[in-house]
């Protein structure tokens, strides 16, 4: 591709691989737009001249009926034919109908023909819209649609400009009706392009007619109406469509009424209409081709949608202000003309492409239906509604006082803005649902009537285990006043499991229980239940003589519960006896006893158990050492935490668990271990995840600090922050956005590096793949940061979408990013992470990161191997060394020597290989 072409594609926001299709669609729309323009000029001029503006509302009403019928037949045909074939059929039909009007004109007398012709224009306009947008909707995905719809739809604007200009120049000589010949020729000229698009684009993949397995067999308006009612996004879009169309029709009506007053003879009238149309089309084209795509990308959906109604409201307010001053009729006329032009331009240049973009996340068949509903049903509604409204106005104000029209437009403008907000809200929901529809909502649960209370009370004693557990869970979750009573009642349940669960709840929530009930439980049940009951009993201040016999129980858990209960809650003698028992266990020759002792020590309050545990620590038996370390963690004693850290080398998994048990107290120790240069990277990562699991403000402080001090650990730190359910307040938000910017710049650098390597793909495939893994990791880290910054749940959907690997899901995910994440971050993220060929994204990337830096493969390799800010995977560094060796790239002796001494075996071995072979 030439540089010049590249410049234009860049200016139009088109990627090289999309150009052929965009070009064909543009030309096709150009031809069809010109055809429609010729038909409109002829029919409208003839109507205004022969019939008059006050009869125009009748045309709207007739057109509404015709439009419904057309929409009905179109939807039938759409199910029968694939979209490419249907587009050809429709185009030929339009050409034939124009030809018939021209031929019949010579024999037709009377106004009915002109009413019919102008109403038919609406049909042709609708068909052209349905066919063109239907085709575009299946050819492009949601991301492409944002960039390209404005460009491809701009094709009809130069066409209409040329059509109207030709009409302006020729109408005097050839007569208005002969413009229809030009219309027929233009329509037929578009057919070869349609055929070409049909042949080359993969339309079958998206074909509506081929969705045989989906249930939408009947082609009735009722089906469309069902869809209208069933899909909130479609419904809201449909309502806005009516409002937009009504505004457009009313403004035009008022403006044409003014024109009719100003231009009395038919030629000057036709010339003015053609000139007005030509000027407005050429401005619209400029806006559409250069601005719209970028505007939608930069502003987002909601702001783009607001442009048209806000401008309309402002201009109407200006008209109303000017009207209060006498002698300003001409200014009002021009102001209204400007409003008509502005709304016409903005509607076609911004509102329509944005509406189509909003529909893109819907499944293909639903998207086409939505399109039919909007164009085939709602446009006619708007036409009918406006026609009737204007008729009423004309009846009460025959002298065309437009005051009421201004107020109606203001009201419609406000409704339009409200509607836009509602559409935007639903758009986000639709994107999320498209990615995953498995939403789970907890239902509220409440018990208030006496029958239900009675039933629940019976169930906790006699129901199945599952029933009782569910009832207790629900009562707990809903903070029911019955909870405590029913937990105690469930101790009478026959199941040991239920009793154990109930005792645990009693302990956890300090539920008061009568001693007799606990003694009953103690006498009859399993060791598990007994142990829990003993502890609870001690807590209630029972006669300790009742507990002492259990100090010699054969069951270790019962014995431990008795010792723990008596030491924690007992008095002098009982406490001493229990302490002696514990000492026996600590010094026992049996590992099982020592394990039991460690468990007991962990649960003692105010017993100075820390030093006892410390004494137990030089322990040879693995199982005992594990129990002691866990006990050490539970005590949260700083002396013991130091010991746990020392055990990280030999007993890593247990030591990590013990640190977790120590909670926030362990954080200073974790921090210093991570900072220690001698700590292996893998252990650093595990400690970071551990800090995330500990959670809380201190853990978050530690993690946030690491993002600055240890940038190379950004991946585990971002993940840990996400996993710990961290959410930002104002300060860290700003800071984390800064970190995200740095990660994005690093991602961009990786894409640049990939681009350099891709110039010789076969040679560097291994390294390209490694860089892709780096890019995925960065994306994941960014998503973690976005999740803590913006919306955890929705960003998780983005991650899920990437995990599916499906392009359509990823594109929808990028939409979520655009809507949730700060604009500049979202733009950079999406350009870097959009699926598809890197070469196609380079132009956009150059705009964001103009200095490519990497020009040679050596630079890439050295950058990876020498970078000390960002840590690359060992794999990536090994691939760089390997590539340097295999492809004879000189990365410098120092770097190779450095890695020949690396701790990681993969790196060391590869570096030694390069050293030997170079």
């Amino acid at each position: 591709m030439s540089k010049k072409n590249g410049y234009w594609l860049n200016a139009l926001n088109i990627r090289p691989n999309e150009w052929w299709l965009v070009k064909k669609l543009f030309i096709m729309q150009f031809m069809q737009g010109a055809g429609i323009a010729f038909f409109f000029t002829a029919s409208f001029t003839l109507f205004l001249h022969e019939v008059g503006i006050t009869k125009l509302p009748y045309v709207f009403i007739y057109a509404s009926v015709l439009l419904w019928v057309t929409g009905f037949f179109y939807s039938r045909l759409e199910h029968r034919y694939e979209i490419g074939k249907l587009a050809i059929i429709v185009t030929v039909f339009i050409a034939v109908s124009m030809l018939l009007f021209r031929l019949v004109f010579a024999y037709a007398n009377g106004e009915w023909f002109l009413y019919g012709m102008l109403a038919w224009f609406n049909v042709l306009y609708l068909l052209n819209n349905l066919e063109f947008w239907g085709l575009a909707a299946v050819l492009f995905d949601v991301r492409q649609s944002k960039r390209l719809f404005s460009v491809i739809s701009a094709g009809d604007i130069p066409a209409k400009f040329i059509g109207y200009t030709l009409a302006l120049l020729t109408v005097e000589y050839i007569g208005t009706i002969n413009l229809l010949w030009a219309g027929v020729l233009c329509m037929l000229a578009s057919v070869p392009f349609l055929i070409s698009i049909k042949k080359s684009a993969n339309l079958l993949e998206h074909n509506h007619a081929n969705h045989g397995h989906q249930k939408h067999s009947d082609h009735k308006i009722t089906t469309l109406a069902e869809n209208f009612a069933g899909n909130t996004l479609i419904r809201r879009l449909a309502i806005i469509t009516i409002i937009v169309s009504a505004c457009f029709i009313i403004i035009n009506y008022a403006f044409y009424a003014g024109i009719k007053e100003a231009y009395k003879d038919d030629v000057s009238l036709a010339r003015f209409i053609a000139l007005f149309m030509a000027v407005s089309r050429i401005i619209a084209m400029g806006v559409k081709t250069v601005l719209t795509g970028r505007l939608i990308s930069r502003l987002g959906i909601i702001k783009s949608l607001m442009i048209t109604p806000v401008i309309m409201i402002l201009m109407i307010i200006m008209v109303l202000i000017v009207r209060t001053m006498p002698g300003n009729e001409k200014i009002i006329f021009y102001l209204f003309g400007a409003t008509a032009i502005a709304i016409d331009i903005l509607r076609s240049a911004i509102s329509t492409p944005v509406f189509i973009t909003i529909m893109q996340p819907l499944p293909t068949h639903e998207r086409l239906r939505a399109h039919n509903i909007l164009k085939g049903i709602m446009d006619p509604f708007a036409s009918l509604f406006t026609g009737l409204l204007l008729l009423v106005l004309i009846q009460y104000q025959p002298h065309a006082d437009l005051t009421n029209i201004y107020y109606i437009l203001l009201a419609l403008g406000i409704l339009w803005i409200i509607g836009n907000y509602r559409v935007n809200k639903e758009y986000l929901k639709t994107i999320i649902n498209t990615i995953s529809s498995n939403y789970f909502n907890l239902q509220n649960f409440s018990i208030d009537d006496s029958d239900t209370v009675k039933w629940v009370k019976e169930k906790v004693v006699s129901g199945t285990e599952m029933e009782v557990i569910n009832i207790l869970k629900m009562l707990d979750a809903t903070k029911s006043v019955l909870f405590n009573e029913l937990v105690v009642s469930s101790l009478q349940h026959a199941s040991e499991k239920i009793k154990a669960a109930a005792i645990q709840l009693i302990q956890q929530k300090n539920i008061p229980v009568e001693k007799d009930i606990l003694l009953q439980v103690l006498a009859n049940n399993s060791s598990n239940v007994k142990a829990s009951a003993l502890q609870t009993l001690c807590k209630t201040g029972v006669d300790y003589q009742l507990v002492l016999p259990y100090l010699n129980d054969v069951d270790a858990s019962v014995k431990a519960a008795a010792i723990t209960g008596l030491i924690n809650y007992g008095d002098g003698i009982a406490k001493e006896t229990a302490g002696a028992c514990l000492q026996q266990l600590v010094h026992s020759a049996l590992p099982a006893d020592r394990i039991n002792a460690a468990g007991i020590l962990a649960n003692l309050h105010q017993y100075n158990s820390g030093w006892r545990i410390l004494q137990m620590l030089p322990e040879a038996d693995n199982a005992v050492r594990k129990a002691v370390l866990m006990a050490a963690g539970k005590t949260r004693d700083s002396l013991l935490l130091d010991q746990i850290i020392a055990h990280l080398v030999t007993d890593e998994p247990v030591a990590l668990q013990a640190l977790f048990l120590a909670g926030e107290n362990a954080l200073p120790f974790i921090k210093s271990t991570i900072a220690d240069k001698n700590t292996p990277q893998l252990l650093q990562e595990k400690l970071i995840y551990l800090a995330g699991r500990i959670s809380g403000s201190k853990a978050h402080e530690l993690l946030i600090g690491l993002l600055t001090n240890k940038k190379e650990l950004y991946k585990p730190v971002a993940k840990a922050l996400f996993r710990s359910h961290y959410s930002t307040d104002r300060g860290p938000k700003f800071y984390l956005e800064g970190i995200a910017r740095e990660l994005l710049a690093h991602s961009a650098a990786i894409v640049y590096m990939q681009n350099v390597l891709l110039q010789n793909k076969d040679k560097y495939q291994v390294l390209i793949n490694a860089m892709q893994i780096e890019l995925c990791d960065l994306r994941d880290a960014l998503l973690n940061i976005f999740a803590v910054l913006y919306d955890r749940e929705k960003i998780s959907k983005v991650r899920t979408a990437y995990n599916t690997g499906k392009k359509i899901n990823i594109l929808n995910a990028l939409e979520i990013i655009e809507m949730l994440v700060r604009k500049d971050l979202a733009l950079h993220f999406n350009v870097i992470n959009e699926p598809g060929e890197i070469a196609n994204r380079m132009a956009e990337l150059h705009e964001l990161y103009p200095d490519p830096f990497f020009k040679k493969v050596e630079q890439v390799l050295i950058n990876i191997l020498a970078d000390e800010t960002w840590s690359y995977h060992y794999w990536t560094m090994a691939c760089s060394l390997y590539t340097a060796g295999q492809q004879q790239h000189n990365v410098g002796r120092t770097l190779v020597e450095k890695y020949a001494l690396a701790e990681n075996i993969l790196l060391r071995e590869t570096a030694l290989f390069v050293k030997l072979t170079s």
Binding site: P653, I773, H873, W875, Y882, Q886, L906, E909, T910
Partner: protein
């Protein structure tokens, strides 16, 4: 793949690339395979050597780097496996008996991964287990689809 393999064997990086070229690991990131590669032990097997016998308890998987391996039940040949194919892979995760025998049809260069060091690796690097779980899920889904297709 052009390799540095000779009598010295493959480099670790080349072992990773070999693993990546196998269909079962084609979607596993190289960063995870880099953890697995050090466990690969090279074995040269002469033609006719029995690698394992039906009914034996399996505790390792094999990757064929070169040569052909016949999988058979008694004298009935079930499959001939070639370069870049694996056998016995489920034995990495469980210790069930081998359902068929494996014998070298030609001189072969194999890579063997034992179960025990694999378990140790999983303990230290859970992401390796996650990679394997993904592979198993994929196979399970494919099997479910196949069964559903047969059922319909």
């Amino acid at each position: 793949m052009s390799t540095s393999a000779g009598s010295q064997g493959l480099l670790l990086i080349e072992k990773v690339l070999l693993l990546k070229s196998l269909s079962i690991f084609s979607e596993t990131p190289e960063t995870i395979l880099a953890e697995l590669a050090p466990l690969m032990q090279q074995e040269e097997v002469e033609k006719g050597t029995q690698i394992f016998q039906e009914g034996e308890t399996g505790d390792c998987m094999y990757i064929i780097f070169s040569g052909e391996i016949e999988i058979h039940k008694g004298k009935t040949s079930l499959a001939i496996l070639q370069e870049k194919e694996v056998f016995g892979e489920l034995s990495l995760l469980d210790a069930e008996t081998r359902s068929a025998s494996a014998t070298a049809k030609t001189d072969c260069l194999l890579f063997k991964i034992d179960q025990e060091p694999f378990y140790e690796l999983i303990e230290a690097r859970p992401e390796v287990a996650m990679g394997f779980i993904k592979i198993l899920c994929k196979r399970l889904r494919a099997l479910n689809d196949k069964t559903a297709l047969r059922g319909s």
